[in-house]
Symmetry: C2
Subunit: 156 residues, 2 copies
Amino acid sequence: MPPAAFQDSYPEDLSHCYGCGRLNSHGLQIKSYWEGDEAVCRFTPQPYHTAIPGYVYGGLIASLIDCHSTGTASAAASRQETENDSPEEVARFLTASLHVNYLKPTPIHETLEVRATIKEIKGRKVVIASRLLAGDVVCATGEVVAIQVPEHLMPR
Amino acid sequence: MPPAAFQDSYPEDLSHCYGCGRLNSHGLQIKSYWEGDEAVCRFTPQPYHTAIPGYVYGGLIASLIDCHSTGTASAAASRQETENDSPEEVARFLTASLHVNYLKPTPIHETLEVRATIKEIKGRKVVIASRLLAGDVVCATGEVVAIQVPEHLMPR
């Protein structure tokens, strides 16, 4: 069996996000996995994800970096808890800030890869750095500050 | 007749962007207008634009800020050219960097407003600051550095 993606472990009532919810039939349904210390997400754009002809629009790139990073935060927090022998329910994270540098136009006819690493993890806050690649070319870099979803925002 | 939106003046071959292209039937088709020195875009999210239940996913907010800001850059450059008495074809802009601070969860059942101002305009570069509001509440702030689309990327 292939390994489960981070997003497959989200509880059902937190699985409707347009970017990463497995239950959102309109959404991107991204999937993220550990590859060593990097978290990787691969996504093939649809023709309508265009900006200028031949290239992906910036909002998709921001969405991929955003949802892949919060998913990575969740997986990293979960991994840390397991190491500390205190496994609890997987924590979900929200984005506090998102920064994307668009280095090159991103081609629409290739499968894109977002590779993320944990820059900092402290209490309820995780900082994630990422690169978005088309083949070997880094088209964008991202930094996300993710905060664990506060209890009062969790669905009942 | 109501005033034309910035995006309505884009040439046809640059009107397919998922965020702001009037010819992208899958896309968000945002519309931006001057209100004095502020450029304003109003957008009503669809139910599937959700993150956690009741709130908009961050990628939509990033997309609105991104496309509204590049549209505002284009309109500001055009306005400047008109003042200088050298009206040319409207220049289109790409995003060089996007920074979004998510201050509060953004409700999904309200029409959102992005209000942008020009922070800097110099040569081919425009810096745009923006706020995303739900009613009177600022839910996010953004800053975009936009660069005029270089000639070699323009469709023929």
